[in-house]
């Protein structure tokens, strides 16, 4: 009985296990420590964004501007570091920048009730082009040497990025389940009017979720930037799709109100592994995107089948 509540996570995990097994058979070197840590590092920022995206989708909204926000935060982190802001202060600065961009989305969507898909589409274009105009396409280079503070500098420092992402995941998991505000996210996502009648204020719940989304995007941008010697001005292209796909594959209902971060973790891992797995299996990696698309469709179809099966069992 208890296990059946996790059926969506279980089916995603089974799919992931099948993928790992297939790759393991085709190419055992896939499981080398270097490859696995590379995988984890590359996907940790995506996971952070997907955590925020899970909450945005749970509350019944969507945010397609995260890729552009990510780029703004990345470049801002580079500039701040170059202009002499001490490295330990970078994190609060970037969190604040991300949260401000999220707050702007939250204001328009939560407080003014504008549709999130259009608002964030506008912000996607706005931030991306504002950045292009400001940087004129130039990458941020000549970063201070200590910028790679827990990045390139230390061998094990890199894994700290993964640890931070996992800690954030566990923290938000706990909060979604155990805090009043977490319960409110589910309630607003299922039926905002019913939540309002129960004394919850959907506008502030939605606003807060977008602020968190922005802050997590900022954190992801910083953790990604510190791994490299320069910051590209076109960072985060297509990030929104990766994050939304991870959430959906993880079993969160796109209509809101149902889902868990555990599923998002599995979804992010599954989608993040495919590209590398293809290379190891000797398949042309150009297939990566097509296979990711197929997995998203399969997840949606499986979701529907599970629902129908449940309905039949109820009757």
């Amino acid at each position: 009985m208890k296990l059946s509540r996790y059926k969506r996570e279980i089916s995603a995990a089974l799919a992931y296990a099948a993928l790992l097994m297939a790759v393991g058979v085709a190419s055992p070197s896939f499981f080398s420590a270097a490859n696995l840590s590379d995988l984890a590092l590359n996907n940790a920022p995506v996971l952070l964004v997907a955590i925020g995206m899970t909450m945005v989708i749970l509350v019944g909204q969507i945010d397609i501007s995260v890729g552009s926000q990510f780029a703004v935060c990345s470049v801002a982190a580079g500039w701040l570091a170059r202009s002499g802001v001490p490295v330990p202060l970078l994190l609060p600065c970037v969190l604040l920048i991300g949260a401000s961009m999220g707050a702007f989305n939250g204001l328009l969507i939560g407080r003014m009730g504008l549709p999130s898909i259009i608002v964030t589409l506008a912000m996607l274009v706005f931030w991306r082009d504002a950045l292009r105009w400001t940087t004129e396409g130039a990458w941020v280079q000549d970063l201070p040497t200590n910028f790679q503070w827990f990045g390139l500098g230390q061998a094990y420092g890199q894994l700290l990025i993964v640890a931070v992402a996992m800690a954030v995941l566990i923290g938000f998991s706990w909060m979604l389940r155990n805090l009043r505000q977490g319960r409110a996210i589910y309630a607003v996502g299922s039926d905002a009017e019913a939540a309002r009648l129960a004394g919850i204020e959907p506008p502030s719940v939605i606003f807060n979720v977008f602020v968190l989304m922005g802050a997590l995007t900022g954190m992801a941008a910083l953790l990604n930037a510190v791994r490299f010697t320069s910051v590209p001005s076109n960072a985060g292209l297509g990030l929104e799709l990766k994050a939304i796909a991870a959430v959906v594959v993880g079993g969160t209902a796109i209509t809101g109100g149902r889902g868990r971060l555990l599923g998002t973790l599995i979804g992010a891992a599954l989608l993040g592994t495919i590209g590398t797995a293809l290379t190891f299996a000797g398949i042309n990696p150009f297939w990566e995107k097509a296979i990711q698309g197929a997995i998203i469709l399969a997840a949606l179809a499986a979701d529907r089948l599970i629902d129908e099966w449940r309905m039949r069992n109820q009757q």
Binding site: L179, D191, G257
Partner: protein, 517 residues
């Protein structure tokens, strides 16, 4: 089939027969050997508690689901391979409680859908479409401009459009599923008038309703379903309300409404000249005492729900005063109302009373999460205990308290919604149509619970469109008309005529001048 002529009365040959219909869902019997017969020019009431099998029966007739065994015959011919398309083509139409019109389309277009054959390349004849709509609307006695968008019509008007559409499709079997559930007394009377006219034209009608008091007014025969079995079919003039209830529940209910002897206490809620432009409320004064049930009667559109929403902070008042225990308060959001001890059970249970996806336990605690937190985190053990406690106290039938509310029946969902408000320990409980569309057993339990609450000193404001419920439960009855109170009646002096007369007070509301009490 030969067209039935004007003025034809109930015939003896059956129009529609259902013989030994059996249907199971995943091993659970919804119908077992149900039998039913409808004649042309007959209004045949179909009654039974929720879960008795009425909906399944209707779905089988309209072809939405397939029976496991048994046979449906239309004019003696077995209905093979029934589907919504087939039944519609044969002249079977159903009208449900919630009108199913396309809100963005005009009335004429709504009527045209399903009547016109769509062939590519052929131009739509707008003038013909319009004139047919005018003709059909006239037949149902509706004064509706066919160019209006359906979404702008009132609920009763939408119902008329649906009936007009059914007439356009030459319906000879018309199924009316709870057609009066959301209608005021006046609109109900108009609908009955129309039903009688259709009957005279030879249409056979299956009439489903929880309102037993309507039956003698409209039905020729009545069939009672219980647990999927046909209990009996009788002529309406041969049975009374008590007998019907006995047949439906299979046991005698001691009284339809629980007896109540409660000393009322201090004034909990007092409204002084309350007004809200957005809600259409004006100059409204009313008081409710601890332990008292004040019934709010009135026609649909009189402003009863709007008043409840104003008190609860959904549409905050912009003039006048709200006093809680003598203290003037300003309530501008539901959160503030809840903090002040006000609870509001909304009218539309399916959409807003409960959160369908959330478990029963989370639904019950949703309005009291602050009190449930310990060191900032939710106390799951206490939540389980509380949920179990309410599930037992209100008799919520469920296998598990963490099952989503969507898995429960309507009556049980309503009990979950009520539990949520009981947990906030309100001093004022506003109930908006608390027993609409739920079965008699659950209804009785909710009435008993209201009685219990008043004995604990809760003040209750009861909104109901069912006059017997208002009369049976209230200590005082406030009748609304045109956004304000038209008059207040004591329990002893109140009767249906007096309430209706007040509800139709012409000076107060913009009531159609042709309507007379």
């Amino acid at each position: 089939m030969p067209r039935l002529k004007h003025g034809l009365r109930m015939t003896d040959s059956p129009l529609l027969e259902a013989i030994d219909i059996t249907k199971s869902y995943a091993g659970v019997r919804a119908l077992s050997n149900a039998t039913f017969e409808l004649r042309a020019g007959e209004v045949h009431a179909l009654i039974g508690e929720n879960g008795a099998g009425k909906s399944t029966f209707i779905k089988i007739i309209t072809g939405a689901v397939e029976a496991d065994s048994g046979e449906i015959r239309l004019l003696g011919e077995p209905l093979a391979d029934n589907s919504p398309r087939v039944s519609k083509a044969l002249g079977i139409a159903a009208i449900y409680q919630q009108p199913a019109l396309f809100r963005e389309l005009s009335v004429a277009e709504n009527i045209a859908i399903g009547l016109e054959q769509v062939e590519s390349g052929i131009r739509i004849d707008w003038s013909e479409r319009r004139s047919r709509a005018v003709d059909l609307l006239a037949q149902v006695g509706a004064k509706i401009d066919p160019d209006t968008e359906a979404g702008e019509l009132t609920m009763p008007q939408q119902q008329l459009v649906e009936i007009a559409r059914a007439l356009g499709a030459n319906a000879r079997v018309l199924i009316l599923d709870e057609p009066t559930a959301s209608l005021s007394e006046e609109d109900t009377r108009k609908l009955f008038h129309l039903i009688r006219e259709l009957r005279a034209r030879g249409v056979g009608m299956i009439y489903i309703s929880h309102r037993l008091e309507e039956m003698p007014m409209i039905a020729d025969r009545v069939t009672v379903l219980r647990d999927g079995h046909t209990i009996d079919t009788r002529r309406m003039i041969d049975v009374d309300r008590q007998q019907l209830i006995r047949m439906m529940v299979g046991r005698e209910l001691s009284a339809v409404f629980p007896q109540r002897q409660v000393e009322t206490g201090e004034v909990v809620l007092e409204l002084l000249g309350l007004g809200c432009v957005a809600a259409g409320i004006k100059d409204l004064s009313l008081s409710v005492r601890a332990g008292e049930i004040v019934g709010l009667a009135g026609l649909v559109g009189a402003g009863r729900t709007e008043l409840a929403r104003t008190i609860f902070g959904l549409t905050p008042a912009d003039s006048g005063e709200i006093l809680l225990r003598g203290e003037p308060v300003k309530i501008s959001s539901p959160a503030q109302a809840i903090a002040r001890g006000i609870a509001y059970l909304p009218e539309d249970r399916r959409r807003h009373g409960v959160v369908m996806e959330l478990p029963i336990s989370a639904n019950i605690t949703l309005a009291s999460l602050d009190g449930l937190s310990r060191f900032g985190a939710l106390d799951f053990r206490r939540e389980r205990e509380i949920a179990a406690q309410y599930t037992e106290r209100l008799g919520i039938k469920t296998p598990a308290i963490y099952a989503p509310v969507s898995t429960l029946s309507g009556g049980n969902q309503q009990k979950v919604a009520l539990s949520r408000w009981l947990m906030t320990q309100p001093s004022l409980l506003i109930l908006d149509e608390p027993t609409q569309g739920i079965d008699i057993g659950a209804k009785w339990e909710i009435h008993a619970l209201m009685t219990e609450l008043t004995s604990q000193g809760v003040a209750i404001l009861l909104i109901s469109s069912e006059l017997p419920e208002i009369l049976g439960m209230s200590d005082r009855i406030a009748v609304m008309c045109g956004g304000t109170i038209a008059g207040i009646l004591d329990r002893a002096e109140a009767d249906q005529q007096k309430i209706l007369a007040l509800a139709l007070t012409p000076a107060l509301g913009e009531v159609d001048s042709t309507i007379r009490p």
